[in-house]
Amino acid sequence: MRRNARLAVLAAVAVLAYLASRLGCAAAAAPLSPPSPLHPLGAGPLGRDAACMLARSAWGSVEALLAGLAAGGAVLVASAAAGVSNAAWRLVAAVEALLAGMPRLALLMLLSLLLLLEPWQAGLLMGALAGVQSARAVASRARQLAREPYVEAAYAVGAGRLHVLARHILPGLGSVIAAQASLAASAAVYAQTGLAMLGLGSGAPSWGSYLALLLATPGALAAPAGLLQLGAGLGLVAASAYLVYWALLPADEGAA
């Protein structure tokens, strides 16, 4: 499938997740009653249809995913831009050396002490920190590209740095930035889910907060429906992370 079509699938999933967040899930049966044709994942800990609850919670996780993608992508594009200038490249290298080892998940947890982090805020912070980890590599690659003869030729005919960046550097780094940004997005959704599973954050509906409800309900994980819902929730989180990676794959790999 072409990359544009894959990106369209990603956008459609995001829109569906947003629309699903408006769903009202009516009471289905007794809490944690087993799956049935009408309720394929059974009832949740509060007696509502679990499939509906997971669909309704999707937007919080997708929000974290998209925020992580945007923040990671922005950091990487800025790093690529920094690669064109020597001083900026050194700055990126220093920032990466200092921040790449920052304990990200523990930092989010510490910040939860001060703020009720919304899913998009957790995703934004996590995505930016994950992007920093690859910043030096991207800036160094941009630096190499900036020394290519065709880029020097562009400078020689009067092209400015912005033009060179937009026409030569960023297109040359597109697949690297896309791959690293997709990793930042997956780091964001995993971190937000991990925090929400522990009951930290704003409490906005997300797959993590649904899993937290399951984990906090005594006996929920001893019931088959609870186990099924735990597996479905974790599977959805992993699938969403993979979806972004798949959507951003370079065109030739995606066609395979």
Binding site: G101, A106, L111, L113, Y190, G219
Partner: protein, 304 residues
């Protein structure tokens, strides 16, 4: 050249530890603002504990002087009184937590590195796609499944403790999360070094050496950079204990951080964060230093 590199790695580690300490100090100071305002001599916080907090965190000092005082207190073994644990020194509590967490994480990291090396020697340096995919899953997936097993089968017991069964469960979770990443890292290192070692591999095959023995030599050649990467991964797992341990109910440093955050104890949270983050930075730097010392290609200053 070698001395300069060692100094640079040490300076990087020191800068990282200072950054973590500064972040935790700021978080605690901001976090302390509101609770302290309502905690007078007759409030929930004992007067001695409140005075201890003011002393350690320099709450009446300007920010930079307060931070310097906080670092001085930490170096002298005082972390400030924990609000949740009745005024017990937070550094003492955090060190006890670290003493439970570090051995498990270190043992699991070592085991996963050895298992990765054994796989490469015995099976080959290509990583099957499903195993590579597992490397992207966070450790808490396994922790959540074990939490479920805890309810369904009674193992590990569904009670928070630092007992042997929980330690074993934690070890398994860290091992399951780290092993695919270690394997991927080692196989990438061996493939990257393939050009340098091509002559050796050709000669060894011509002499009739078996493939496992040749791969064992390649693993040995990649040992130093692999140790550096493994230390970095171990540091990352160490900080992820903040999510893994509460899910498993293992009462180490990660659980302590969660308890501190969940019960609004900024002093304890800041101290545990400083130790966990500092240990993660130190592990990464130790790995780099080890590589500088052990790998003749970088030790001589030849490699970029």
């Amino acid at each position: 050249m070698r001395g300069r590199r060692l100094l640079a790695a040490a300076a990087e580690a020191l800068a990282g530890v200072l950054l973590v300490a500064a972040v935790s100090y700021l978080a605690a100071r901001v976090g302390l603002g509101n609770p302290l305002a309502g905690l007078g001599e007759a409030g929930a916080l004992p007067g001695a504990a409140r005075r201890g907090l003011e002393e350690v965190y320099g709450l009446r000092e300007p920010l930079l002087r307060g931070l310097a005082g906080y670092l001085y207190s930490l170096i002298h073994g005082v972390g400030g009184p924990s609000l949740y644990y009745g005024g017990a020194d937070s550094l003492h509590l955090a060190l006890m937590g670290m003493a439970r967490t570090l051995p498990v994480v270190a043992a699991a990291s070592l085991a996963s590195a050895v298992a990765a090396a054994a796989w490469v020697v015995g099976v080959g340096d290509s990583v099957p796609a499903p195993i590579r995919g597992l490397g992207f899953l966070p450790g808490y997936f396994y922790a959540a499944l074990l939490a479920a097993s805890s309810w369904a089968t009674g193992w590990p017991e569904p009670v928070p403790c630092s007992c042997a069964s929980k330690a074993l469960a934690y070890f398994l979770v860290v091992f399951a999360a780290m092993w695919p990443r270690m394997l991927h890292t080692l196989s990438s290192l061996i493939r990257d070094a393939g050009g340098d070692m091509a002559g050796y591999v050709l000669a060894a095959r011509a002499m009739g050496l078996g493939e496992p023995r040749i791969r064992a030599r390649l693993v040995r050649a990649a040992a130093a950079p692999f140790a550096a990467q493994a230390a970095l991964l171990a540091g990352m797992v160490l900080e992820r204990s903040a999510v893994l341990e509460p899910l498993l109910g293992y009462t180490g440093a990660g659980s302590l951080l969660f308890t501190a955050v969940a019960n609004a104890d900024p002093v304890l949270a800041a101290t545990v964060f400083t130790l966990l983050g500092g240990a993660a930075y130190l592990a990464a730097s130790a790995g780099k230093l080890l590589e500088q010392l052990l790998d003749p290609r970088t030790a001589g200053g030849a490699a970029a």
